[in-house]
């Protein structure tokens, strides 16, 4: 059979895999955004007793290879009484990794805003939450967005690793198709094109935002 016929035949399977990949990435990005913003804000404004464990967590997670973290959660979880099943375990592992990244980006964005801004806002009688909402966050968001989108592409790329714990994502469905057709090259290239299309869209959005917000960088 010609390569193109093979691809047409395999398309439903690959699309199902792509849906799983996108589902995992979407969950990870959403969960990590919430957790990362909370941890990142605590790293800047929290008391020392809160900052220390968070710093420890972030530095520990960033020191572990993503693949090892996935194996750790997937294999150690059940043995330690946390039997999640492969899908939640994969999402948890990727979320931990992404949360550490997002927390670090949030910390960088918040602490890059000159402290005079906060002092000025407090001086005119705004409460701390008001200062955050009206003064700090609008400025920090512009510095947060471009690197955050890069961390989203990292999450999408990292999601390919979940194929190694038995989840039939895009990567694993490509492997299955190759296992049946013995035609690795067309399918790996097709997979590369799909991942490229997703990530390139994201990373060029990140570059455009960066150029647009260039004026807020000193």
């Amino acid at each position: 059979m010609k390569g193109i016929d093979l691809i047409v035949q395999a398309l439903p399977l690959l699309l199902r895999g792509l849906a799983i990949s996108l589902e995992i990435s979407g969950l990870v990005v959403a969960l990590a955004l919430v957790a990362g913003v909370l941890l990142g804000a605590a790293l800047v404004y929290g008391p020392l007793l809160l900052r220390l464990p968070i710093r420890g967590f972030v530095d520990l997670i960033r020191g572990i290879p993503m693949l090892v973290l996935i194996f750790f959660v997937y294999y150690v979880g059940p043995a330690a009484g946390l039997d999640l099943g492969s899908f939640p375990a994969a999402v948890l592992a990727l979320t931990l990794f992404s949360t550490a990244q997002v927390a670090e980006i949030v910390r960088g964005a918040l602490s890059s805003i000159h402290h005079g801004q906060m002092e000025a806002a407090r001086a005119i009688g705004m409460t701390f939450p008001q200062c955050l909402a009206w003064v700090i966050l609008p400025q920090a968001a512009r510095r947060f967005l471009p690197p955050w989108i890069n961390s989203v592409t990292d999450a999408v790329k990292g999601s390919a690793l979940v194929s190694l714990v038995g989840i039939v994502d895009l990567m694993q469905s490509i492997q299955q198709v190759i296992g049946r057709t013995y035609r690795p090259m067309p399918f790996y290239l097709l997979g590369a094109v799909i991942y490229f299309a997703i990530n390139y869209t994201l990373s060029s959005a990140s570059r455009r935002l960066e150029a647009r917000f260039a004026d807020v960088r000193e």
Partner: protein
Amino acid sequence: MPYQLNFTLVWLHFGRLAWGLLLSLELAVLAIFAGTVLGLALALAHVSGGRAVRTAVAAYVECIRNVPLLLLVYLVFYGIPTVIDLRYNAVTSFVVTLSLYAAAYLVEVFRAGLLAVAKGLTDAGKAIGLTAWQRLWHVRLPVMLRIVLPSLSNTFVSLFKDTSVASVLAVPELTYGAQWINFNTFRIIEVYLVVTPMYVVTGYVILGLLRRLERRLAIR
């Protein structure tokens, strides 16, 4: 009955982990070296080349950076030999892949560094009669190195962590050692409790050494 931790079997096979870590480091060093050479060459081409060269370098960077490393590793090892008559083993294949991957990240680092070298320095080099190569070797590269070293250190450490992907080609590095002990002794918790700190500690030792280098090279 709660699970009883038993590290005996992990220590019995600890050699696999120790040699595995050594191989991980070797893979990282080789890929970092090749990736640095290629990345620097591409960055110089991008900075001083014409429009066509810049587009080609940008296309290379985008194509590699937007695809998962795992897919690239499979593509090089399982895909390419089916279309080109080339034979290579898993280690060579992985080192080549990681080098190409490293280069795509390092191009950006070096390009930013080269652009950040003050124009006055190269002009001064020109004024005292240095040739283009001498200006590059004695002025632009040393200054660039000091500028990029912090982001270079981070890239190097993440490349070291990326060597764990080599386990999918059964390259006997640290993660593969962990998998082997896992499948052969079922001491799953124990082996990951040993391997994870090995990665973390090694990563931070590398980072610490590079930070010392940064301080030593810093202009006082």
